[in-house]
Symmetry: C2
Subunit: 248 residues, 2 copies
């Protein structure tokens, strides 16, 4: 990669590329992951590479869902670990009951373990792997990623997915999980089927979500439940689509 | 990469990914190239992954410019060679005076030579490298990619660029070249500054351009000149932007 001056207009975006290329070289991410990230980049470019009100509104509801969950689980893959390992660590420091489960679209046990150890070394306390230890199968999914660790996704009621495949997002919804998805493409099946779709770039989202969780810690369960009940994800997706359309 | 069944709705797009990953592994493409391709993919997705009338119109003018050129040069980089080596070869078979010049954004002599040899092995007759042999500097450009081979870009009057950086496209225009650009993002600086912007996916473009060149071979220079004079690139870009906006 080329050295990028810090005053470059796309500095943050180019830094994320560097993180992902390092992730590829460290064995955390895949070539397919780089391509998928590039697709996301295009949508972020059309969003002006900044967080919008529709993302803030979805993040407020995500915070309420995560705080009132019996077992909140963050499903992490190679791209999300490479791009946002530090931000994931900061998030779980704010919400200590959250379990991080490594689940990969292009599964390999070596890569799964590398990601789990990378997150543990950063300081994430509860890291499990879908493919290690007792698990339950997620119906409708055929590949290795169907596995759900009994200490994580198998028991989760609220699941945060980032940069996730549409099939698996749909299967998690069908299996009764409340799904919060971080996805830059509001037209993607993941964004379309999730209960709460945060249309924004992952590292920006995780910082905003950590701040929101902190400020929500003194809210009553009733207040959080009211916020969840008042939320309309279809409206949020419409706003995101309209914003991208204006950006083109 | 995962095996993709041929009835998958995004089969062609996923095949292109495979070509690029092979290109990376063979040393032709870079990680940055994969990310850039992902960005292009997102725009192709918004275009419905098909060629539109605005692309056909630009291709007809590109054909006229290439046929009436004194020296037409196709500037090829790692992504275009990886994605469309075969299509480049088929194109130059139809228009034999065209020189292919390898010029890389992330320059390395090893990669440049690998690409040149890959194209020669496919059968491309006139391959030169910007970085090998006598060259002239393209003003405004600082890096190694400023070099223009005296058998290619230095003497070219019409240049076809694919998946090209905006800075270099602008510098080629400023240096008096007629520039035809293939770029999926009609908002990119490359598309905005080129004389003829073909907003479409490269392998589809090269097949259509080869067909157009064949059917234009009996046209008179006057007829081709009239076609060039009647062309309005700003209108074509507006149509591409409107189509993407409808697709979001």
């Amino acid at each position: 990669m080329t050295e990028v001056p810090s005053n470059h207009p796309r500095y943050h975006s180019l830094q994320l590329r560097e993180r992902l290329v390092h992730g590829l070289k460290a064995g955390l991410a895949t070539e397919a992951g780089l391509l998928a990230h590039g697709r996301g980049e295009a949508f972020d470019y059309l969003l002006g590479e900044k967080s919008h009100d529709f993302a803030a509104e979805a993040i407020a509801v995500a915070s309420a869902l995560l705080l009132t969950a019996r077992l909140p689980v963050f499903s992490v893959n190679g791209n999300s670990a490479s791009l946002a390992g530090q931000e994931i660590n900061e998030l779980v420091k704010v919400h200590e009951r959250m379990v991080v489960e490594v689940n990969l679209f292009h599964h390999s046990q070596q890569r799964s373990s590398l990601i789990a150890n990378y997150l543990r070394e950063l300081g994430v306390p509860h890291v499990v792997e879908s493919s290690v230890g007792p698990s339950v199968a997620l119906p409708e999914i055929k590949s290795a990623r169907r596995r759900m660790n009994v200490e994580g996704l198998a028991e989760a009621d609220v699941v945060l997915v980032a940069l996730e495949d549409g099939d698996r997002c749909q299967a998690l919804v069908n299996a009764g999980r409340k799904v919060i998805a971080v996805d830059l493409n509001p037209l993607s099946r993941t964004a379309q089927v999730a209960h709460v779709s945060i249309v924004d770039e992952l590292t920006r989202v995780l910082k905003l979500l950590a701040t929101q969780l902190k400020s929500d810690q003194n809210q009553t369960p009733e207040e959080l439940a009211r916020r969840i009940a008042a939320y309309d994800n279809a409206k949020i997706l419409d706003q995101a689509i309209a914003t991208i359309r204006r950006g083109v």
